[in-house]
């Protein structure tokens, strides 16, 4: 089965700093990749997704992620974070032709100091 690793458990940044959260997956076949975000007290919601085509995908709120197939990575980036980006971020993967079992990483907690 596919699995996901997120390297950073907790990241603390000041406002306007640049963000990069690491995500690696292990699965030999074709995958779909996702980033979900959970703001404090709220439910998980989709931030962005990659299915095919341009490996650089853009999501909501200025976030983007780059799929690097050779590195099995799908890192999340944002050039300048805001205090409101404080949340937990989860990377997830499904298999291309059997996407009923989305697998999540352990999550990275981002704290942005004002």
């Amino acid at each position: 089965a596919q699995s996901v690793s997120q390297h950073n458990h907790h990241v603390i940044l000041s406002e306007a700093a640049s963000l990069e959260l690491g995500c690696n997956y292990s699965y030999g076949g074709t995958v779909n990749l996702f980033w979900y975000v959970q703001y404090p007290g709220q439910h998980l919601q989709l931030l962005l997704k990659y299915f095919s085509g341009d490996p650089l995908v853009k999501g909501i709120k200025g976030f983007e992620a780059e799929f690097i197939k050779s590195k099995f990575s799908f890192n999340l980036r944002k050039p300048s974070v805001q205090w409101s980006d404080t949340a937990e971020y989860f990377c997830a993967v499904t298999r291309l032709y059997n996407n009923n079992d989305m697998r999540f990483g352990a999550g990275t907690r981002l704290t942005v100091k004002p």
Partner: protein
């Protein structure tokens, strides 16, 4: 409804008690998923329904866990003889359905504490 609704929001159970957790998916969504999220971890897949059919239950940790969706809408996750290790947030998610289930709409979860 406007989103996925789960009840109760919090549940405290004594070890050995049975519990039932309810999920109301978004109206018309074919696919329904249950996840278990332990403290400090990401959601772990439990089971998947397509309408009333439970197509994948490979993530259920033991035979004490049982899920149903008899009419293809509301789903119930039942845990029998609860143990302390069952303490977690149980998340329900729905999506419009195959062929792609790529966008999951999550509920707020039920936080289960087993004492």
């Amino acid at each position: 409804g406007a989103g996925v609704s789960q009840s109760p929001r919090y549940k405290v159970a004594k070890r050995g008690q049975d519990v039932a957790l309810r999920c109301d998916p978004i109206s018309g969504h074919v696919s329904l998923f249950w996840y278990q999220q332990a403290l400090g971890q990401g959601p772990e897949f439990l089971t998947y329904f397509q309408n009333e059919a439970q197509l994948d239950k490979s993530g259920l940790p033991s035979d004490r866990f049982f899920a149903e969706r008899p009419e293809g809408s509301v789903s119930t996750l039942k845990i029998q003889r609860t143990q302390q290790e069952d303490s977690a947030v149980y998340l329900c998610a729905s999506s419009p359905g195959p062929p792609t289930n790529e966008k999951l709409f999550f509920g707020s979860g039920t936080q289960l504490s087993v004492l």
